[in-house]
């Protein structure tokens, strides 16, 4: 019961902050709202019984990626977005209507999804490690480490100033 209340609270926070991310003119406030969003999602992961993913979400997303975003925003000193032209309003209206339509259509399908009673499962780190390092995902795991290395080198190479 208390789980449901907590879930609605965090879901509300996630939705609200997502709206702020999209609606706010100043990109810095969008970034702060996104951090809030990521932390509420982390709480929801915890409620869904995945403590490892919850902690990982904070460490990787909210703790590292968003810090990178904030650094770039603060060092590039981005200002508020300027006011858009008139034709933008019609475009925005259509986009908004289509988004609402998407949510309605897929939402009605999802609400009627009758899932079997969820089994009580153990999502501890030990189990996660057993699967991650099993032959099924080991290759992917090693490939992602090479991907991160490539991203690291690429990011440094791209952002370097030409002397």
């Amino acid at each position: 019961m208390i789980d449901a209340i907590l879930f609605y609270m965090f879901a509300g926070a996630a939705l609200g902050s997502a709206l702020v991310v999209v609606g706010q003119r100043n990109p810095l406030y969008s970034a702060f709202a996104l951090i809030l969003n990521l932390c509420s999602l982390s709480a929801i992961y915890g409620l869904l019984g995945s403590p490892f993913i919850a902690v990982l979400q904070v460490v990787v997303y909210a703790g590292a990626i968003m810090v990178l975003f904030l650094f770039v925003l603060m060092l590039l000193n981005v200002k508020r977005e300027s006011q858009e032209e008139g034709s933008w309003r019609a475009l925005a209206g259509t986009a908004f209507a289509l988004a609402v339509l998407l949510v309605f259509q897929v939402g009605t399908v999802l609400l009627h999804w009758h899932h079997p009673a969820p089994p009580d499962f153990d999502a501890s780190t030990r189990k996660m490690a057993e699967i991650l390092f099993s032959p099924r995902f080991l290759y992917v795991f090693e490939a992602t480490s090479i991907l991160i290395l490539a991203a690291l080198v690429g990011a440094v190479a791209l952002a370097k100033k030409d002397p």
Binding site: F52, V55, G63, V67, L75, T125
Partner: protein, 343 residues
């Protein structure tokens, strides 16, 4: 064991939180006094000795003075962020305390208690996550004051924090492998028995890496470039005064205390005395625990009185090019030993 009613459990947990919070706050208050006295003696002077016996009430006098100071805010500062930044720092500092056991399990009123708010299955990772969030207090503080110096100071400080966070996390992996669990209670249990079972003896390199990374993480000397008084004015908390500044000081000292308690729990055997003929169950364990935490805090103050400050590029070089490879080396060696010899 009679199962608890929901309100009894709630009351018990609230009492635990209250006790742990007060332990931390009292330690923080007296740490400020202790630091000033010890530093003074190391520098061949006396330190505060007027307010009360041996200057013991100096922190209380400081707090009262801080309350009466004017709370300033720069003209063009972002009001909400300016006010929120110390709150984020303090919140992150206190949240990390939730998973650390502050002493041995003891029996009281016929029940088993332990001074640990939440025994998470991912205990140590939770601390890592909260430390990652603590960076935001610094970033927002520096940015919101609308001052180029504070912005640069906060970016430097946060870069330092998350660089050393990596080394911090990696230093824990070795002892997690040995103990086989992320729970801090399990890691302490693993160190029961003789002195040689302590993780500082089994993983000396990890302890070194941890200690250096922790000093950098809480921005103590020799890594206190972000807030050194002679660098960049006062770094990211230049524009803060009165209780906002007080809050940031609280956050910093609580971080230091947390890091010391973690060092005790993870490396120095927690509440175990290291010699099986000296009992350490029940309330006696608190004695050993307190002594060890006090010793680690003293070493922090000692470092402050002894070492000069690192330059920023030396600091970043050291974090990335020395500490992280050392920590990874430690992990590799530990992994080989665990595979060959068992845990």
């Amino acid at each position: 064991m009679v199962p608890l009613l929901w309100w009894q459990a709630l009351l018990g947990d609230t009492a635990k939180v209250f006790v742990i919070f007060n332990i931390n706050m009292l330690t923080f208050v007296h740490m400020t006094w202790l630091e000033r006295r010890v530093l003074a003696f190391m520098q061949f002077r006396l330190g505060p000795n007027r307010t009360g016996p041996l200057g013991f009430f100096q922190p209380y006098a400081d707090a009262i003075k801080l309350f009466f100071k004017e709370e300033t805010m720069p003209a063009e500062a972002n009001r909400k962020a300016f006010v929120a930044a110390p709150l984020i720092s303090v919140a992150a500092a206190f949240m990390a305390i939730a998973v650390i056991p502050y002493g041995p399990p003891f029996t009281l009123f016929g029940r088993q208690w332990q001074l640990q708010v939440a025994d998470l299955g991912v205990g140590v990772l939770f601390i890592f996550a909260i430390t990652a969030l603590g960076v935001y207090g610094v970033v927002v503080a520096g940015w919101s004051a609308n001052n180029k110096f504070t912005l640069l100071g906060s970016l430097r400080s946060s870069a330092q924090m998350f660089s050393y966070e990596l080394a911090l996390g990696l230093s824990w992996v070795g002892i997690i492998m040995l103990a086989g669990s992320f729970k801090i209670g399990d890691i302490v249990q693993h160190q029961a028995g003789w002195l040689v079972h302590w993780n500082i003896v089994r993983q000396p390199l990890a302890f070194l890496v941890y200690f250096v990374a922790a000093t950098a993480e809480v921005a103590r000397i020799p890594f206190d470039l972000p807030e050194g008084e002679t660098e960049l004015v006062a770094g990211f908390h230049t524009e803060y005064s009165s209780m906002s500044f007080g809050l940031m000081q609280i956050a910093e000292y609580i971080n230091m205390i947390t890091v010391s308690v973690l060092a005790t729990d993870l490396f120095l055997g927690g509440w175990y005395s290291g010699l099986p003929f000296l009992p350490s169950h029940g309330l006696l364990g608190f004695v050993w625990f307190g002594a060890k935490v006090f010793f680690v805090l003293f070493v922090f103050v000692w470092l402050r009185g002894t070492l000069p400050r690192f330059r920023y590029d030396q600091l970043m070089d050291f974090g990335w090019k020395v500490l992280i490879p050392l920590a990874v080396l430690n992990i590799m060696v530990t992994a080989v030993m665990v595979t060959v010899f068992g845990s």
